[in-house]
């Protein structure tokens, strides 16, 4: 079975499409995790049933290693599934998705190891596991209990596949740079490294050395203000985008070492306040629409 990176993604998409998920394209903004996509954050805060799946490129500035570490990057892909309410056969659905990308459940050791998830910036928490494939964390499996400070009613199931990790296990490789991207040979052959090595080098330099601290601080403040104004205008969707931008500015500031331990907690609390306001307003509007 073809296990190259892009086929793996296509297989996941078609598998989850068959389960009734809306297949979305990546959100066009920088995020630290697929959870930040409004299709997860806002949609898990309201009470209306929802099923979606999408690839989301993620940026974690502090995890950059200038392309020198085969397993750590500042930019990578997550495949995200969100199903609300969480289905009865959640684990079976997930395991079948592994089969669908060519993962042999009988030849590998797949385990559900306790890992309670928390996102202080989103005011979110859930219970679940990290899923291990031969000791490697290939997915996060979470039942959301809280989002934006609100109790999740109903509970959403969130599956997050670390696509590079998963591909490493699937392709039996030890370095992400060697991952087969397109399944071609000869001149057409492309690896993950061909696609992203240079990006890792340059973006790490930007993240750690050149990101402009004063303008990031300003940007954070600007986004925070905009978010507040848009909430006042009863526009949670654009407001939430400014919350996402504020969060990313914070991540960059963090990578630049511009945030002390105390400031850190204060910044996180500010983003959380934005996320809460967005989720609360979104939920109210969804309820009102439903009632109308």
């Amino acid at each position: 079975m073809d296990t190259c990176f892009q086929t793996m993604i296509l297989n996941l998409q078609s598998y989850w499409a068959k389960q009734g998920c809306v297949i979305l394209q990546p959100f066009d903004m920088e995020v630290g995790a697929g959870t930040f996509h409004p299709a997860t954050t806002l949609r898990s805060a309201d009470h209306v049933p929802w099923k979606a799946a999408y690839v989301q490129p993620c940026r974690r500035p502090t995890d950059g290693r200038y392309g020198q570490n085969p397993n750590r990057f500042q930019h990578y892909y997550q495949f995200q599934v969100i199903i609300k309410p969480s289905p009865k056969d959640a684990q079976a659905l997930y395991l079948d998705s592994l089969k669908a990308i060519g993962f042999d459940l009988m030849a590998n050791d797949v385990r559900f190891v306790e890992d309670d998830w928390e996102s202080p910036t989103l005011g979110a928490s859930g219970l679940g596991w990290e899923v291990w494939g031969n000791g490697s964390e290939i997915s996060q499996f979470t039942y959301f209990q809280q989002m934006g400070g609100l109790k999740c009613e109903p509970v959403s199931l969130e599956l997050t596949y670390g696509l590079e990790r998963l591909a490493l296990v699937l392709q039996n490789k030890t370095s992400a740079f060697d991952l087969d991207w397109n399944g071609q040979s000869g001149a057409d052959k492309m690896t993950w490294g061909d696609v992203f090595y240079e990006n890792e080098k340059q973006q790490s330099a930007y993240n750690f050395e050149h990101a402009d601290v004063p303008s990031l601080i300003q940007q954070f403040k600007h986004c925070e203000d905009q978010c507040g104004l848009l909430i006042d205008q009863q526009l949670p969707l654009p407001a939430y985008e400014f919350c996402m931008k504020a969060s990313h500015a914070f991540n960059l500031l963090d990578a630049r070492g511009a945030i002390s331990v105390t400031d850190r907690a204060a910044y996180i609390a500010r983003v959380r306040a934005l996320a809460k306001a967005c989720c609360t307003l979104w939920r109210e509007q969804m309820q009102a629409r439903e009632a109308a």
């Binding site: 397993n71 509970v155 030890t174």
Partner: protein, 680 residues
Amino acid sequence: MSEFILEIFSEEIPARMQKAACQALQDHFAQGLADHNLQFEHIKSVVTPRRLALCVQGLPVAQADTETERKGPAVDAPQQAIDGFLASVQLGLDQLEQRDLGKKGVFYFAKLQQKGLPTSEILAQLTTRFLQSYRWPKSMRWGNEEFTWVRPMHSLVALFAGEVLPVPAPHSFVSVGRTSYGHRFMAPEPFVVESWDQYQHALRDRYVVLDPAERTEMIADGYAKVAAEKGLALKESAQAHAAQVAGLVEWPVICTGQFDAAFLEIPAEVLTTSMWSHQFFTPLYTAEDILSNTFVFTANMAPTDGMAEIVAGNEAVLQARLQDAQFFWQTDLEASIEGWNDSLKNQTFHAKLGSVHERLTRFEKLAACIDVSSEPLKLACRYAKADLASEMVGEFPELQGVMGGYYLQAKGFDAAVCTAVSQQYSDQDQTDMVAVQMAVIERLETLSSFFAVGIQPTSSKDPFALRRAALGIIRLAVAHNLKLDFAALAKANYGALDVADKVDYAAYSADLNRFMVDRLRYFLKENYDYDVIESVLGSQWFVEGMDFARAAEACAVLTEDLRKAEGQALLQAFDRINGIFGSGVEGTVLDEALLQKPAEKNLLKQMMTAEIQVLSLMQEGKLAEALAALQPVLQPLENFFEEVLVNDPDLAVASSRRALLHRLRTLMLRFVNFSALVKK
């Protein structure tokens, strides 16, 4: 006699929560059955990652029938009262018995037959109550319902005497019946549960070992076998590892892996932390107790074509982790310790207490109080926290201190300095005096600084682990017989703390002392009786000096002494003297010339001798000897009480006699507060 079987089948239960839940399940049923007067022969609960199960054998099918008697009104009571009684017991007048109660009169009595409830009904109730009431450390909701459990529950097997019990499903996703399932991958098909015996065997055939003790043993034995084959050894902790890993698998399969020997240049603590804390791998050691590059771990699968792929995958994960660790190690070795220390100025220790760097200044002040001449202690204090700025500690926070020791060693610092930094957080493994002193300073600075800005533990919250810090100081002082001047150290740290809003010194000092005494009381309670502890903690010398080591020793000496007749005699003597002063009037003037009777002269003489001895022995810290030095006073005291009347008509004589006794009482109180001791 019949059998009850319960299986609660769910998604993976966190390993750390399994044992307590398993015990609680058994206790719940043992207690619940007893409360309902249901005897049983045998009860056992077991747990795996996916199921919590219980078996109760030798149960009757129903409670025994009971007969109770109810007293009614007197036979000559108004008709209304009699009718009311008949209605309440639902019997006719001819079914009642009349009984003469003598003076009280003749009364009606009703015999009530109570049919025993079917056991199945009680078991169903107990099952439901367990599902509703068991408190997991963390539990969750799923789907669209409010019921909570540790993870989503899928099915219940609840059988009594072969019949499915009428247990309502706690969640619409849960089915109740007689169906169970084997191993998640190797035997997922449903099977029918008939009896406990059959259930255990059926699961064994389906790759599930039910009993956690058996899985633990399989893992521990498996690890030992691998170690033996490789000529390597396991540490003691391997047994605890096996018990934890048993909570992660239903079908343990022992695997052996290796990592590149080149990584052995990294400190062993880094390697073992990577292996165990992150991957649940157990390291193997050479006969010389040196870490090897071979490790063991447990898989939950036995693929038909062998373990090679699983082992290779696990090795690759470790390899990636160690590569990162090696990078950190090498980067850190090139960094400057001074530079790290500098960057601690930007690391906040606590919003109210400034940076980590400011702590170091306080450390050095405390070091000067403890031993101003110790250069190693001074250096250890100066670089104690440097490693907090290292890459490695950023990645492995649990290795702080240990890494500092390695990095200082690499820079050529004295072994005593490295050891002290390395062992600063450890609870009781300090190997030399500098390390002990450093560990005390680390805790004392934390405790005192937080108290100085008004942050104290409450009954439910102690986020900065101040109780543990206090207990650590006490343990270190006692174990190493440290003569700590706690008050002076607490004062020095308060003085060195340069922050905006310090609490008033008197309040700080009073609160801190009270807290320490409380912790000491808690510490001593492990070994000594309450009254002994109170007598020591209430003594003058302790209140003044807060000498923890001496307090512990005094408890030991006193406990030992009170076991003997001598000790009890001393206690009795104190009580007798104390009785004299019950009214509160003390002798004021001791005029020796007025003490003329041989018995009182002798007591005075013996007491003065004892005074000199006791005081100097106390000063030398010879507590047992000091206590023994009081013994020669006892016989003269006895004679005194026999031959002398304290309250002499001559007031001056009486006053002198009282003063003599008061002086003896004071001397005894120099040792401990005898008033607090309870006579046996």
